[in-house]
Amino acid sequence: MRALLIRRFIYMVPTLFAISLVSFLIIQLPPGNYITTYVAELSARGQSVDQTQIRALEERYGLNDPVFVQYLRWIGGIVMNGDFGQSFLYQREVSTLIWDRIGISVALALATIVVSWGLAIPIGIYSAVRQHSVGDYVFTFIGFIGLATPNFMLALIFVWIAFAYFGESMGGIVSPEFADSAWNLGKVLDVVSNLWMPVLIIGTAGTAVLIRVLRANLLDELRKPYVTTARAKGLPEWRVILKYPVRMALSPFISTVGWVLPTIVGGEVMVSIVLSLDTTGPLLLQALRNQDMYLAGAFILVLGALTLIGTLISDLLLAWWDPRIRHAQAEEA
């Protein structure tokens, strides 16, 4: 198990490097840079722009250096000092801007995984055991709709229903009265009560996929002879199903967490923008629109890195859950 862990960590290094390159590439791609955007904005407002001031800004941010020097300076600062650079837009350290928001994003993603598993496992089992029942068809139908509807659209519909029928307008995750207070029970409860809607919206597509996977796997398992054996030896039906086939069917389930994560992170970004939650989504969009390069790059880098870590955890979970995979990987190492 330890060898596996070490090997996976070593694998992560080149991937992280690639992610950092891609993030930096995205930062560099747009023609011009923040300063040109800034100047354009100022002249659009009819203000004059001081050339010496521009030069000073360019000097300060090293915008005239070769690209790889800029990259090395950027990644060096992150690795050495956790310094993600300055946000041009907010005139603040990027690191002070992102961590709060990323914290909420991670909380949202985790809650979404927990909720979609909590929904998908019982529903998947039900749909497989009662195949072709009305309930099965209803869940399949809802699942397909959930799959096919863009989640920003779901968010819009939820917002509309909440507004039209409950007179509630969706605010942020933290209600205004708790905005400045320290974390206490009241604030936690408040956050939880505001969180359920985004969690449900982000989780729909993922849950629908999971239900279908679990249902298909379980259907395959239920036809196997060992199930008949278990039944023949007189086990109660719920034990027959839960003890063996469900366990077997869950295995591919765990391995899909790695794929679900990028979707959830993406969904979280989209839904947060629609619901204007205080997570990474709206800030990332704003940063990209304004070419606030360090801020946008930091978000993409950190989201990518966190997704990698999540995938690693899911791989380890799978090895722990399924002895066959554990042994196969140990032999490989």
Binding site: P30, P150, M153, I157, W160, V213, R289, I300, T311
Partner: protein, 388 residues
């Protein structure tokens, strides 16, 4: 993650195509080509057949959108900002009796003194007669052939019809959604075509050569799949310069979508290659002295074309979803280009949705298209291997 998970094939009660009871059909089946067998099996999926019809209708609408749309997408009317959808009437009871008709009622609009928003009531005294193949706003078919005949619309070109309501500039939502069909569907097709080239070349190389090439390509695929797609897409499309023309932007966005969307296809192709490489007929071909390209093109490719077609069909809805998400954020296609995602920009905030819920309708079009394409893809995948 995509919608196209490798779901297990559900063995139906009667998997033999056509049911082999009748000896005549049995002979016909024995002599049928592979594609005929696939079609025979596909036809038994009711849902997939229905969805195929929906997809075909949508494709036709996209192809002939100028003719199908009652008006042009840019045709605006300051009198009809956010006009609600009109009900279509086929039976006329106004004269006391039951007469057949084809009309909508006009609007009475008043302006709210406080909010300055227009408020509409149905004006039953004003009837807008509708008809088929009517003259209306002139357009250019496919941008070249000038015409002014529309599939249906008001008999009097001066009248207006808003079956799905109007947007904030009084433009007809139905026409805009119809025009959006062309862009949204074609972006899915073109994007999948590009992703297909990447996926087949890289996945094929990976599966055929194996070894180091395989490892390298697999790493690239794993890497691409491990980054959150939406932020990556957002980043790349934010880099598309705003000054670019509509057509260039369209292609830039398609390229971006396919750059990230090729991985699933590559995995399918590689998996097929790996399993076929070991087959006896490939060995036989090699022993016969066939060249490598002949083995791939003549012997291996035909046996997994159907699987590729299924994967391609399942990849189109992903592209459509991605395009609508990007355009909705304002990072994808830009107005005046009309795609479903661009139309959703109208529904950006709660005030426009609360005031005009029909601005959400382009999203319904997305859902229907994605759902139908998914069912068709599932159907093809289930019938992809007719010799089972």
């Amino acid at each position: 993650m995509g919608l196209n998970l490798p779901l297990k094939r559900r063995p139906g009660p009667a998997d033999e195509p056509g049911g082999a009871a009748d000896p005549a059909t049995a002979d016909a089946i024995a002599a049928a080509s592979q594609w005929r067998l696939i079609w025979l099996r596909f036809r038994r999926h009711k849902l997939a057949m229905g969805s195929l019809a929906v997809v075909c209708v949508m494709a036709l609408i996209g192809l002939f959108c100028e003719f199908v749309a009652p008006t042009t997408p840019g045709e605006y009317s300051a009198e009809h900002t956010h006009a609600p959808p009109q009900a279509l009437h086929f039976v006329d009871t106004s004269g006391g009796g039951l007469d057949l008709g084809f009309y909508v009622y006009g609007y009475d609009s008043t302006r709210d003194q406080e909010t300055l928003a227009r408020e509409y009531t149905v004006d039953e005294s004003e009837k807008v007669e509708l008809g088929f193949f009517v003259e209306g706003t002139p357009y250019e078919m496919w941008g070249v052939i000038p015409a002014d005949t529309h599939l249906f619309g008001p008999e009097n070109p001066e009248d207006r019809m808003y079956l799905l309501g109007a947007d904030r500039n009084g433009r007809d939502m139905l026409s805009r959604i119809v025009y959006g069909t062309r862009v949204s569907l074609s972006i899915g097709l073109v994007g999948v075509a590009l992703a297909f080239v990447l996926g087949v070349v890289l996945g094929g190389a990976s599966g055929y050569f194996g070894g180091r090439v395989d490892t390298a390509i697999q790493r690239v695929i794993e890497f691409t799949m491990s980054i959150p797609t939406i932020p990556l897409w957002m980043g790349l499309s934010a880099a598309v310069p705003r000054e670019w023309g509509p057509l260039t932007t369209y292609f830039a966005i398609t390229v971006i979508l396919s750059l990230i969307g090729w991985t699933d296809l590559a995995r399918v192709v590689r998996g097929r290659f790996l399993s076929l490489r070991e087959e006896d007929f490939v060995l036989a071909a090699r022993l016969d002295g066939c060249s490598r390209s002949r083995i791939i093109g003549r012997h291996m490719l035909p046996s997994f074309t159907s699987h590729i077609v299924a994967s391609l069909t399942l990849a189109i809805p992903l592209m459509i979803l991605a395009e609508s998400a990007l355009s909705f954020l304002g990072l994808g296609l830009q107005p005046p280009v009309v795609s479903w995602g661009v139309l959703m920009q109208e529904a950006q905030n709660i005030h426009s949705i609360a005031g005009a819920p029909w601005t959400l309708l382009p999203g319904v079009a997305v859902t229907v298209a994605v759902l139908a394409l998914n069912f068709v893809g599932d159907g093809i995948r289930d019938s992809a291997d007719p010799y089972q």
